[in-house]
């Protein structure tokens, strides 16, 4: 049975991505007790699935490693994985929180040796790679997963597969009798760092994401480029496994569109500019990247990065929102149709692969579990009337990693003030 010691002076952080980890660490390092609740089996969130960050093109594993080291050094953070907040009641300084914890079927004895994974043969879609490949039903979520412990997928429980996994474990780490647990505890303040999810690309009907194999999203492209991803870092077409050299990027796929998401998702311009460097990195001068855009939103210091990409002769910019995509069934090539704004030329452009720079939307509607207010796009408003709950990172707005971390730190600051008030009142 998981136990959580929490008081009215404890801060609850919901979501274990970069924003939630940051908020939890900042608060803990000022001496506050924190409970960090993560729905998935490991911390790291969407950031851990990126190949590189913009604009410095460094690897997210580096930042993740620093944060994990801080986390391991802090005695004040209690991390709950596979845990979801079900209900929040009460008022600032005195919340009652109900959390359900799904069974992992693997206990603390696990050394991540991988014997259980070798023993089972059932495969399931790998959510870490956005379902681009399959993985064993006994798995480590990803190489840097924290906690560094395997998970047995519930789909093989009560089958011979689970027994095989148990038999293979030398450390007595597999416990197939684990059940869902429901915990209730107190918290003085709550930070919602529940993050974002990619907009459902299939809803953009004329782009045929659901019909054409070689139309993929930017998050999927990121996984293809990652050496630890499903293709070992080879950027290949889903239709035939051929290397993609001539890649189209469509900006505002779902964003800035009253038929889809009304807001600008902010990261997509920089993400596509960054992803052209992946194509260049692999194909050299043979690379051809084309960015179809309404306007490029690379502000402040990002302007330098934009100019660098503009100077690359393998990258072409077409000022036009693509009207529709068709597929050449013989070759699997995608053909983009539209009219450009610089001269009003009609084009039917053939590409190996088309990447939709997909928009961001809030991953969950927190209103279902707590009394928060959201804006028209569903992002949690910065100042929640309640006064003891705060949005952080992409739960509060479409933000890049840098600004998510700033937002998380700001939320931690506000939450600490609430907790300090409680502490003074309780003397």
């Amino acid at each position: 049975m998981a136990t959580v010691v929490a008081t009215n002076e404890t801060l609850l952080v919901v979501g274990g991505g970069i924003s939630g980890m940051t908020a939890a660490l900042e608060a803990a390092e000022t001496g506050k007790d924190v409970v960090l609740v993560e729905k998935g089996p490991a911390l790291g969130g969407r950031v851990s699935r990126l190949y590189k960050y913009f604009p410095k093109l460094c690897h997210p594993t580096c930042g993740l490693e620093i944060n994990l080291r801080r986390l391991k050094a802090s005695k004040r953070i209690r991390v709950l994985t596979l845990a979801e907040v079900r209900k929040v009641s009460g008022a600032p300084g005195n919340y009652a929180v109900t959390v359900s914890v799904a069974p992992r079927y693997v206990n603390e004895n696990c050394t991540a040796c991988g014997a259980c994974g070798d023993a089972v043969s059932t495969e399931i879609p790998n959510p870490f790679n956005y379902g681009l490949n399959n993985m064993k039903a006994a798995y480590l979520p990803f190489s840097m997963a924290y906690p560094q412990r395997y998970v047995i997928d519930p789909s093989i429980i009560a089958t011979g597969e689970a027994e095989k996994a148990k038999a293979a474990c030398q450390y007595n780490a597999i416990d197939l009798d684990m059940k869902e647990e429901v915990l209730t505890f107190n918290a003085g303040a709550i930070i919602w760092a529940t993050g974002w999810k990619p907009y459902d690309a299939a809803k953009i009907q004329p782009y045929g994401y659901d019909r054409f194999a070689n139309v993929i999203t930017s998050v999927e492209f990121e996984r293809l480029a990652d050496p630890r991803g499903p293709t070992g870092g080879r950027v290949i077409r889903p239709s035939d496994g051929k290397e993609a050299k001539n890649v189209a990027f469509i900006q505002c796929a779902g964003s800035r569109d009253r038929n889809h998401l009304t807001h600008c998702s902010r990261i997509c311009c920089m993400a596509s500019l960054k992803q052209t460097t992946y194509v260049r990195e692999r194909c050299g001068d043979d690379a051809k990247s084309t960015i179809y855009y309404i306007d490029i939103r690379a502000i402040d210091r990002f302007e330098d990065f934009y100019q660098k990409v503009q100077a690359d002769p393998t990258v072409r910019f077409v000022k036009s929102k693509v009207a529709s995509i068709t597929e050449d069934q013989k070759t699997g090539d995608v053909i983009l149709h539209g009219v450009d704004t610089e001269g009003y030329h009609r084009y039917d452009a053939r590409h190996d692969l088309c990447v939709l720079a997909i928009g961001m939307e809030p991953s969950v509607d927190v209103r279902a579990i707590a009394d928060v207010s959201v804006d028209v796009s569903g992002f949690i408003e910065a100042s929640i009337p309640d006064g003891g709950m705060f949005g952080a990172g992409c739960a509060s707005n479409a933000l890049d990693v840098n600004r998510s971390v700033q937002s998380a730190t700001a939320s931690a600051m506000r939450a600490i003030q609430v907790i300090n008030r409680v502490a003074r009142a309780e003397g």
């Binding site: 569109d257 009253r258 038929n259 036009s320 929102k321 009207a323 539209g338 009003y344 009609r346």
Partner: protein, 210 residues
Amino acid sequence: MTELNHKMVEQYRNDFLKEVEANVEEGDWVKMCMQCGVCSGSCPFGPDWEHPPQEIFMMIRAGKRDEVLRSESMWMCTSCYNCIVRCPRELPITHIMHGLANYAHRLGIAPKMNPTRRFAKIFWDNIAKNGRVNELDLSVKLYFMDGFKKGVKRAIEMSTVGLGMLKTGRLNPFGLVAHRGCKDKKGIQKMLKKARELEDRRRGLATRGA
């Protein structure tokens, strides 16, 4: 100011957008266009337009009054509404195209021989006169609008359709001499006249013929 200065000021005077906002149906939406180009790319007749909608919006903002109003482009619109459905800013593009065409026509500078304009005029005169469409009169006028020879040719081409309509009672064979119209023709005509007066007053136009 020198004469040259005056000339340059006149050249760059740009009140066409304001004129469109004041006089064209849904014209106040033109400034909302962000030039993404989805309308032009989505239009099934797109390749046949001299200036696709996105370009027309830019031309309006650039003050190209004559080029816009004398253009055949907006007369190409078939009201399929694909552009309205796709526009990320929900501009009523179809309505704006018809609004521009109508405004150019009212000013008397729309292309005289544009077939869509001529058909629209024939249709309007037909329905406004009797309060109900006279199919035979409409078809005869439409087929023969380019002269007798072409009219006969078109009539022969369309004869199977005509016979079909005749058989199913959709076409009155004596329409040219015995079209009944609606019950209160005078009332309809009065109503249309009043509506025109109100619209012209709102737009600040002198009332004149359709």
